[in-house]
Symmetry: none
DNA sequence: CATGAATGAGCCTTCATTCAT
DNA sequence: TATGAATGAAGGCTCATTCAT
């Protein structure tokens, strides 16, 4: 191979896949090496430790989230149904693409390790970004700034972001166990999501 | 403390705690023994394997869910705000009490192991119960049976149950990182939850 | 085997032998296990780490040195040739018996690790003991206390103890390479040692 | 700095330092490369293996010993106190300069590897040289050839050379642990050494 | 000469599990 | 029931060494 970039990426991809399947502790470094098609020792040439691989993956994820946010998605007017649909589509698409690493992020974030979890880090970014957007809207349109920014964070996080993430992560199992098609699964979820989260935006 | 029943319970309690903290793979049988104050080998007198401990915990959880469901919680009329509040209170309380094991259930269920996850099992129970309840209402009141039972499952699961579970599981970290009090955290969540999930019930 | 004391001792003996042959870093834990006839993991049941094995060996050595010192060897009058001969005999015998671990102690002590080496620890014990003995003699006989106790330490250590230790440690190689018998080797060394170290005691 | 000769020398110097600090097995090839400021692979351009580096260092040491011996140091009359002082000074100086590599030579020689140790090789050189010198003296002065040349070797080695070597190797630790100045340490040792080894020469 | 990338072998340590009492 | 001792099977990580450029 003799190709540094490819080797390192192979490792990252393999790790992402295996961490998603078995969890961080359940995945074996040797499996990652096999999956990546590289020598096990090479992993330690590029990374300090197994944990360092996960940190790198999380770091990449965070950068991607930042890029997504920069792409003015948040400029959409979520109180408008068409915009909300577009936003939802984009959001689901992004989450869909980051499925595996998000699965890892969720499971690892739920452990009580004492360290700041990656999900919280992402939440921080989202809120600070959303608040910035809001301030601009407030300035431009002269409307009231909504009560407490932390209130928005909590609402968006638990009734907006997390349901979508969970919808993606549990899809395969849901479809298999409750015999529905992927189309039905999506239809049911979107209907419910719009009746709840969109309704919430409307009312504000 | 040193009799049979207590030994077994000590082990289960210790395992619940450690699985919640470190995940199933991260927790060590010897740690469980230490935390439980029993000899490591004794664990294998009561349980076949480490996995058997978790299965036992999940089995207990499922029985508790069944008991909760039997206690006619589902007889409440969720389209009535007072009833919804009562229901929400009870639900949150129950989830609160099962915090640790639910944390384990969530993290383990998110892995792509191929086996039916415990979260799916619980979802199955909830839907079959809810549908049974509905059938009775349909019979008694002569009203229409709602479109598709699976639609209800999806809606209830992703916009009802999971947000509440996540609200409990992420509490400590949220409070710590976004400097809010426990009271504020609860207030913000309940407000959002009612504006979404309760609104959803109303509209049906 | 199922015999704790024997297992632990087997490990210690095997480690002593292998550390002496190959040095601490050169010896393999698996070799130690094989040599001891125990499972490799059992080593970690009794010891925290490979280093802990060596520390235990050194700790045992130090205790033995203490015991040797307690056995009033130091009460001998080293300025009397017969006593000196007896003393020398005892000293050589002891060192002979602790050959292997002393070999390890010497090689490890020569590394510049920054930690206090075991050879220095033993030297400390010897000097404090010798000084105590001297104080008593001074008190009993009313003679002058020799100049500086540290002077004695240096002299005894480099012209007394270390030569004897080295004489033991280099024996096999000397005999093999300079074709002498064990008897000749001993004779030559004792002659030289008495002409130097004993002469030194005499002159004081 | 970056030319061939310097690269090789950097490697040798770095290896000497690290072998002295950590022993041959404890030192890492990558550390040597870092310390030398060269690429790790370059080491294998100049040397066949890690062991080859040490062999080169020992080879250099032996050549230096030969040079030292050629400088007619051994022509001094060690039975004359002034000459003995001069000799001692020169000897200590030389050993001082070869400190690090001598430390390695000592520790590696003490292992029971079966191979002829470098310390023994040096001893061989010393004795053959000394004996040659003696034969000349015997021829020139018509005096008796001393009993057994191996007797001389043993005496010189264990009561002459090794004490001086050890004095150098243990200096730093001695000074630090027995709170003496470097000057005191030297004074005490020289006094003892002369009272023993010089006295021995006198008596012959 | 020099170097970034790669690797086979193996090392220390751990862990779930079992055995004997 | 309970436990100290024991073990097979890895697991993460390291290291001397080699390769390709």
């Amino acid at each position: 191979m003799r190709d540094a970039v490819n080797s390192k990426n192979s490792i990252l991809n393999a790790a992402e896949k295996l961490f998603a399947e078995k969890g961080f502790d359940g995945a074996r470094v040797s499996e990652i090496a096999d999956e990546a098609g590289v020598n096990k020792a090479l992993i330690y040439y590029y990374f300090d430790s197994k944990e360092d691989i996960m940190d790198s993956l999380f770091s990449i994820l965070i950068n991607q989230v930042i890029n997504i946010m920069r792409n003015n998605i948040l400029d959409l007017d979520l109180d408008n149904e068409d915009d909300f649909d577009i936003f939802l589509d984009i959001l689901i698409n992004h989450i869909e693409n980051k499925r595996d690493i998000l699965r890892v992020a969720m499971t690892e974030s739920m452990k009580k390790t004492g360290k700041k979890s990656i999900i919280i880090k992402i939440a921080e970014m989202l809120i600070s970004s959303e608040i910035e957007t809001m301030r601009q809207i407030v300035l431009e349109k002269g409307i009231d700034f909504p009560g407490d920014e932390r209130e928005i964070l909590v609402a968006e996080f638990f009734t907006g972001v997390l349901p979508v993430v969970n919808y993606i992560l549990f899809r395969d199992e849901f479809i298999e166990n409750f015999n529905m098609t992927e189309r039905e699964y999506k239809e049911y979820f979107l209907k419910a999501f719009k009746e709840t989260h969109f309704a919430y935006h409307l009312r504000r």
